[in-house]
Symmetry: C2
Subunit: 238 residues, 2 copies
């Protein structure tokens, strides 16, 4: 596999990393074995239950992390203390801000999650020695920017029904394995509202409407089955 060709110093990969499901997607993918050992050395694996806060907005910005499994949300406070979700992070994604001294977003775990958490300063130091890692971070930042601008378009231009449809397609893309379009939403109705800029009641009504029209089925509290993808896509465009 990746270790110890003839003549190289032999490096033992940490077992946790060798078996990691995001080994080839996350930051780690840019590192050769020795670099991976170094990264492993500064980080700590943590398991967090749903609801836990990783970073509080306003606190000193001390840590960044790689998402190994689970889904996280980044939130900012709007007027009247109402919170808005400005970003989601899935397995393989990087969360946190490498450069800000004060965190300006609260990062909270939506579903039980595993993370590799790194002290910001140490990670920053590694960056200087690993240009490929910095390149990946640049790619990730541009990807997050693309996401944010997609949501901007939705928030600025689309009606409630189209927002829900777009949201469901996006979640299917990110969560569902290719094939049967069945997945569980990683969030409650009220969190959907906080992401799409609408009330919980409107979220519910629009979902119900899609269900009544036979476009989706909604088994259990968070299950989603896309029955008619073409019509859902049409609704998303409207």
């Amino acid at each position: 596999m990746r270790s110890s060709a003839a003549g190289e110093a032999i490096v033992t990969l940490p077992p946790r990393c060798a078996a990691c499901n995001v080994r080839d997607d996350a930051l780690c993918a840019t590192l050769e074995d020795a670099g991976l050992v170094a990264l492993h050395g500064i980080g700590r694996r943590r398991t967090l239950p749903a609801g836990q806060v990783l970073v509080w907005s306003g606190d000193p910005n001390a840590i960044c992390a790689t998402v190994v499994s689970g889904v996280l949300k980044a939130m900012r406070a709007g007027p009247e203390g109402r919170e808005h979700i400005v970003g989601l992070a899935f397995a393989g994604d990087f969360v946190g801000d490498l450069f800000a001294d004060t965190a300006n977003e609260t990062i909270r775990v939506m579903t039980d999650a595993e993370l590799c958490v790194y002290p910001r300063a140490a990670l920053q130091k590694m960056l200087d020695a690993h240009p490929a890692m910095e390149r990946l971070l640049l790619h990730r930042a541009l990807g997050a920017l693309d996401d944010a601008r997609m949501w901007m378009l939705m928030l600025g231009r689309k009606a409630a029904g189209a927002r829900i449809a777009t949201f469901l397609l996006e979640m299917a893309r990110r969560m569902g394995q290719p094939g049967p379009a069945r997945f569980d939403l990683p969030m409650s109705r009220s969190e959907v509202g906080a992401l799409l800029g609408m009330t919980i009641e409107t979220v519910s009504r629009q979902m119900t409407s899609l269900k009544r029209r036979g476009v989706v089925a909604l088994p259990g509290g968070r299950g989603v089955i896309i029955l008619d993808r073409a019509q859902l896509a049409r609704a998303a465009a409207g």
Copy 2:
């Protein structure tokens, strides 16, 4: 200044760069003189009149640019062909996407502008030799992400009056020299609407309302004078 300490090879700075007003803000700021000459070599200075399109969404993504003066907008098409502004670029900012093969935003000049335009491929090649330049791009990408998330919060949560107030404060910050809060908007009412997700009529009504309340004055078509910054800030929070 920056050139030819004793013992160094003497490098002649291109006159255009030596006198450039964004020399210390833009990409160029990260380069020593020799690198600057190289960057100057791959780029071309262009003057574009208001309304001109730099990049069409959907076209092959061939160029990036540094804004020397003027203001540009990045747009995406929403439903029914209506366009939404997803980003602004001011003097010193970097525009374009270094990595996408197809441009997914149209970039248009809002006020007469000067740019340094670079072929994407050549710039990408320079990046490998200049880690400081890549670091700056990462910073810029994170800054753009921060902006985008600020607009998301507005579009998702704020009422029309608060959006206009926030917008005026933001423009004052970016365009006005510190001191008297007098500046000209770089865009028409309909462009304000395309940025804030509202119709031209609502933009007009909200601006008029601020004027009637004595919070701002609106001399000429695009002039803005902030008369009561505290009240404007209060309106922006609402």
